[in-house]
Point group: C2
Chain length 154, copies 2
């Protein structure tokens, strides 16, 4: 396990806990490092009529993993923005009977610099992000590609 | 308002209430008729860090509206199936500060007949469905196109 950003995890957890539907999922920030974030939520709160993970809960945790990765990267860079999802593509590859987990990579330095230049020039900018959900054995069960829009708060 | 299928609404509501993450959204079957279904959920349970509707909750209610439309149509036709979401495309067009509502049309007779022929031949079949979310003034705020897979239970 790489070095964890404990202060960043606590900050993001507080941000997520302030959203009632996210608290209802039982969602927690499982890991936050320099380059990746992982969220988790118990199956007991997130199963469907078939006893496996509810698609809407997978959509939520994947949407939030990619959102959180971008939010953290922009916060670390000193940006104060509102971050919206603009669109997403979700693939559900296999039923999941384990804890829900979703992982996303933070944008790299060059991608972040390009986005920050847009924010500086126009007060807003967009970025496409990915997130993946795997079962306990490591098999990919769902993935998201989504476009996010950042808008400076000022 | 067209004729409502009250028994069908109660059956679907019970099915939805059996899923903990759906109950957490406060989701209710607002209307079910011969051709359309509408689901609703209070903003108070579904707002995000910006005070508008959480994208994950919109994903859930849209996914369930299209799922519910197909579930009801297959149930009315006497099919006993498990119904899974396979993939979806979500567009978030505007922030929503009202109650969440999502509407979907039931598949028409010909589409349903084609799907039932696949179920009869192979025990499974798929269908692409749409759902829309509008604000209180009727403006489109989000939409989903998703592929669903039906698998006969027996």
């Amino acid at each position: 396990m790489p070095h964890a950003d404990t202060a960043g995890m606590l900050r993001l957890q507080a941000l997520l806990d302030a959203m009632p539907p996210v608290r209802a999922l039982g969602l927690r920030v499982d890991h936050l490092g320099a380059e990746r974030i992982r969220l988790a939520a118990p199956l007991a709160r997130n199963f469907n009529d078939k006893g496996c993970a509810f698609g809407g809960s997978l959509a939520s945790i994947l949407t939030l993993a990619a959102w959180g990765a971008l939010e953290v990267a922009l916060h670390r860079a000193g940006e104060d923005v509102d971050l919206y999802i603009a669109d997403s593509r979700l693939e559900y590859l296999a039923p999941l009977y384990d804890e829900l987990q979703a992982e996303a990579g933070l944008p790299d330095a060059e991608t972040l610099a390009t986005l920050r230049a847009k924010l500086a020039a126009r007060g807003r900018g967009g970025l496409t992000m990915q997130a993946e959900a795997r079962d306990a054995s490591g098999r990919l069960v769902a993935r998201l590609e989504g476009r996010y829009a950042a808008v400076r708060r000022d």
